[in-house]
């Protein structure tokens, strides 16, 4: 019997139920997203290992390739790594290791579609090994000397060791010999899979439900999710009718030494496509079909993930680089690599701090702000290229120079502001010298005036030998000359002391170029190949007697600062 329950009780229970369901949805969504993210990263790591090994193999570095595949298998125990490692050992004529890997491959993946071919490869290798051993034994017997009755070697010499057999293993393996890992998933899991390999290059397109598809051979029948090791070739994947879902199918081209991922969304009745976006900037932010960035980013380069087939708009952004929009079209089940090349923005930032308590910064005569001790360095943005940089500080020598602002990067500048050399003695000498000069000019003009008078009297015949004006004018002239000499000496000293400056000029020391701050995460690491270029142009900033060249360098650039002030 059911107890009577009030309507309010049902309402409260409904609300609680809704909250619980919402919580579950959130948790499950979060867990799902986390799982999805982890799975994606794992696959990306596997893909990286596989492609790395493949690259070494193609380059002929079989030892390195074998090491990569061995390590890959240790971390990610997929049989494709074992097979590929075995091929690498076979290339090295290391029959024992090759056999071990192939046998382990057959052991861990007995249902592999090519298990027969691998067993045949094992037999071939063992035969070759036996042949080689026999040949080696025969060679050793032929080389053994006659034995005396006493069983003592005739020449009482030492028994020579048997020669080590030399293996020349049969191998027609080329770069397509590498097997690939194929990951096939369905949503939901458990759907039956059939994989057909095109064995005839001229075979017609696979038709699901056809009585016979000539040139196609079924190589795998299993259930999703499946991790398969497949040879290079064209395949047709069929997800058979499962529960209430209809069958799905997709073509798949398997490349050597790759990781392929297929995911079939059975509710949509079709396979997803795989998109991988890489860039010359590692860590660039990628949005898919979200130009306005209204949703969380899709990933950071390099990043690959299953996406629905069809047309997509990919937005790639990184601080310091121009945003890049790309259109990409994916077929169902297609795996596509989108590599974008980003270019830096045409402006840069000078990050300035100083040894002085405060500085004022001007770029191209335009004030860019002030910096004070204890504050964060002043970021002054400017178009990339050469600019006139002026940094002033009270009581310090002004720095003037030409600086090259980098593109899309931050150039830290540590400005060493040197105090101005005191000019007090120079001013004192100048003032006293000017006083002497003025007095000398006055006295000299008086002397000249008296001379003119005396000369006039002389010309008129009235000048007497002991004319007091002549005596006075003579002493005035002596005084004027002395005054001029003293003024000259003081003027010279003042000039020297005005020009003299034992202190170095203010200088700028550039730091290592930095990337723009990324508000979404830690600063990205640019992998941009940049030419070495001077940070600073050697330019004459201002005419004057005192110039200073300050060398500056960073890991990517170097140059000279030219500065001066007066």
């Amino acid at each position: 019997m059911f107890a009577p329950v009030s309507l309010g009780f049902f309402r409260r229970r409904s609300v609680l139920l809704l909250l619980l369901l919402a919580l579950l949805a959130i948790v499950s969504t979060s867990a799902l997203a986390q799982t999805k993210d982890n799975s994606s990263k794992r696959l990306e790591a596997i893909r990286s290992e596989m492609e790395k090994g493949q690259g070494l193999y193609v380059a002929g570095n079989y030892v390195g390739a074998a090491e990569v595949f061995e390590a890959g298998y240790t971390t990610y125990p997929y049989s494709a790594f074992l097979f590929n490692a075995g091929v690498c050992y076979q290339k090295q004529n290391d029959v024992d290791r090759a056999l071990a890997k192939f046998k382990e491959y057959v052991k861990v993946d007995p249902n592999a579609p090519d298990v027969d071919k691998v067993n045949q490869r094992i037999a071939t290798l063992e035969t070759a090994k036996a042949t080689a051993l026999a040949a080696a034994a025969a060679a050793a017997a032929a080389a053994t000397p006659a034995v005396t009755d006493g069983g003592v070697e005739a020449d009482a010499g030492v028994v020579a060791p048997a020669p080590k057999p030399t293996f020349v293993l049969p191998s027609s393996d080329d770069q397509n010999a590498m097997k690939s890992l194929v990951v096939i998933e369905t949503e939901p899991d458990g759907a039956p899979l059939r994989i057909y390999q095109r064995v005839d290059a001229n075979a017609a397109r696979f038709v699901l439900g056809a009585a016979a598809n000539a040139g196609w051979k079924e190589v795998v029948a299993t259930r999703a999710p499946a991790n398969l090791t497949l040879d290079v070739g064209h395949y047709h994947v069929v997800v058979e009718k499962f529960r209430d879902f209809n069958a799905s199918e997709a073509d798949m081209a398997v490349s050597p030494g790759h990781v392929h991922q297929l995911k079939a969304n059975l509710s949509q009745g079709q396979f997803m496509a795989f998109l991988r976006v890489s860039s010359n900037v590692i860590g660039a932010h990628v949005w898919i079909d979200d130009k306005k960035k209204e949703h969380p980013e899709w990933g950071e380069t390099p990043h690959g993930e299953l996406v629905p087939g069809g047309k997509h708009v990919v937005l790639v952004e990184a601080p310091g680089f121009e945003p890049l929009l790309s259109n990409v079209e994916l077929e169902h089940g297609e795996q596509k690599e989108l590599e974008v090349r980003m270019s830096r923005v045409n402006y840069g930032v000078l990050r300035i701090d100083s040894s002085a308590p405060s500085v004022n910064v001007k770029i191209d005569e335009q004030p860019k702000g002030s910096w004070r001790s204890g504050e964060e360095p002043l970021d002054a943005r400017a178009d990339s290229g050469p600019h006139k940089l002026v940094i002033e500080s009270d009581g310090r020598k002004t720095f003037e120079g030409t600086i090259v602002v980098p593109r899309g990067q931050i150039l830290p500048l540590r400005v060493k502001m040197i105090p101005k050399y005191p000019r007090g003695p120079a001013w004192t000498q100048a003032i006293i010298g000017a006083a002497f000069l003025g007095a000398a000019i006055y006295v000299g003009s008086e002397s000249n005036r008296l001379y003119d008078q005396v000369k006039k009297d002389r010309e008129s015949g009235a000048l007497e030998s002991s004319d007091s004006r002549a005596t006075r004018g003579k002493w005035f002239a002596v005084g004027a000359d002395a005054g001029f000499v003293v003024a000259g000496v003081l003027g010279g000293l003042a000039t020297y002391n005005f020009v003299k400056d034992p202190l170095p000029e203010s200088s700028v020391k550039p730091g290592k170029l930095l990337e723009f701050d990324d508000p979404l995460k830690a600063r990205p690491v640019a992998r941009v190949e940049t030419k070495r270029r001077p940070l600073m142009d050697v330019a004459k900033a201002q005419p004057g007697p005192r110039l200073q060249l300050t060398p500056g360098a960073s890991s990517t650039s170097g140059g000279l600062f030219l500065g001066g002030s007066f």
């Binding site: 009297d457 009235a462 007497e464 030998s465 002549a470 002239a477 004027a480 000259g488 000039t495």
Partner: protein, 449 residues
């Protein structure tokens, strides 16, 4: 090569100093100056430039500069024969009161040659009265010998009294400029005048008609001059208190005769001088009155008849005897003739060396360059009665107030011409004006323009 600012500034200032303010140019411009100040000897404590005398012998000219009358001595300067006269006193023992008692006179007699005790002595000056063994007119020569000239008995009484009581009286003296001059001496205190004929030490008194002398006026003989007119000497004695000039003539060997009296002009006789003004080669008489200077032909004076008349006027002069009369003029360098005491001293000198003399007139109270009473000397060229003209003015380039330049004048003869020596007793100066604008350019050497 790049020069530092220091070097440029230093070099510029040095160049400025070197080019504009060299002191040596003052030495250059004052070297061989046209006016020489005769250095006052340190031994002359009382006055300098109060009286002057000059003579020339064998081309060597000297000037005697006296100090305060009756209280000081005189210093002899050797002007030599050229452009390098010595401005340092050669002998300062003239009437200095050293070995012999002597009272300096206000004017001197000068002898190119003098005879004492039968011995001819060169370059002698009659400088005052005193006792050199015996009382009389004291004569000192360039050889440092001194001897007295006897004075008339009446004068001797006063002289003895004067010497005994150390109360000086002035004995103005004058000589002509011949080699064997006549010395004219006066004693204003006793209204006496006498002369010594050439080569004679015997005084010969001048006698005037009754009524000529006024016992109450002690200005008789304060000025005097001796004119040489051929073999005749005309003795002119000023009587400025009465505005008269009394005239005698003598043959220079014996006694004298009174030939008249000039008068009628206020202050006439303030100063007298003798010299060749016109071209007749005989001395003419220059007389100043209160404001003008008159030049009277000496030839005409020598022809005046002996007279006993006490009348004093110019009317007794023959026609044409007055060569010229002129007053204080003006020029760019002189001003304030009013009150300049124009005519306080007169002299005649052949400044341009053309054979006839120019009249030199002192104006000791004239304001020069703003300096009151600095004094000046004005030169007039009087060729004929019609063309007496101002020629030039002389003053000290460093004129000082109260110099009173031109209080006394002399015209020493140097190298064929005369130069002006003027006393400035106000500040104890005596200046030798070596140059004259009347001289042709370059004729007087490097000292003159």
């Amino acid at each position: 090569m790049r020069r530092s600012p220091f070097t440029l500034v230093f070099a510029g200032l040095l160049a400025l100093a070197a080019s504009g303010c060299s002191w040596s140019r003052f030495d250059d411009i004052t070297g061989d100056s046209p006016v020489l100040l005769l250095e006052k000897p340190g031994s002359m404590k009382a006055g300098f430039g109060v009286s002057l005398g000059t003579l020339t012998r064998n081309g060597q000219t000297s000037v005697l500069v006296g100090g305060a009358v009756g209280a000081s001595g005189a210093a002899l300067y050797d002007l030599g024969d050229g452009a390098s006269p010595s401005t340092t006193a050669l002998d300062v023992a003239y009437c200095s009161g050293g070995s012999a008692q002597c009272f300096l006179s206000s004017s001197f007699g000068a002898f190119a040659n003098a005879t004492s005790g039968g011995v001819s002595r060169p370059q002698c000056y009659a400088v005052g009265t005193g006792s050199v063994g015996t009382s009389g007119i004291v004569i000192r020569c360039s050889d440092a010998t001194e001897y007295p000239l006897p004075v008339p008995p009446n004068a001797l009484k006063l002289l003895d009294f004067s010497l005994r009581e150390s109360q000086p009286y002035d004995y103005p003296m004058a000589t002509d400029r011949t080699d064997d001059p006549v010395l004219l001496v006066t004693l204003p205190e006793q209204q006496m005048a006498w002369f010594y004929p050439s080569q004679s030490t015997k005084p010969s008194e001048l006698s005037a008609p009754k009524g000529v002398l006024d016992k109450a006026d002690k200005s008789f003989g304060s000025t005097l001059a001796v004119l040489t007119v051929g073999d005749t000497r005309v003795l002119a004695v000023g009587y400025p208190g009465k505005s008269e000039v009394l005239l005698w003539k003598t043959d220079g060997k014996s006694g004298s005769e009174y030939i008249g009296c000039l008068g009628g002009l206020s202050g006439l006789g303030r100063a007298l001088a003798a010299g060749n003004v016109n071209t007749d080669d005989v001395n003419d008489l220059v007389i100043s009155d209160a404001s003008n200077v008159h030049v009277i032909d000496g030839q005409a004076l020598a022809t005046l008849p002996v007279t006993e008349s006490a009348e004093c006027s110019f009317s007794s002069l023959p026609e044409g005897a007055l060569l010229g009369s002129f007053g204080c003029g003006s020029s760019t360098s002189t001003s304030n003739c009013e009150g300049s005491s124009f005519g306080a001293a007169v002299a005649v000198g052949d400044l341009d060396g053309d054979g006839d003399g120019e009249v030199v007139v002192g104006a000791p109270q004239m304001t020069v360059r703003g300096e009151s009473a600095a004094g000046a000397v004005l030169v007039y060229d009087v060729e004929t009665p019609a063309d007496a003209a101002f020629a030039e003015v002389k003053f000290l380039s460093s004129a000082e107030s109260s110099d009173a330049l031109g209080s006394v004048l002399a015209t020493p003869h140097i190298k064929g011409r005369d130069v002006i020596v003027a006393g400035a007793p106000g500040n104890g100066k005596a200046a030798l004006f070596y140059c004259s604008s009347l001289l042709p350019h370059g004729a007087a050497g490097s000292r003159c323009p």
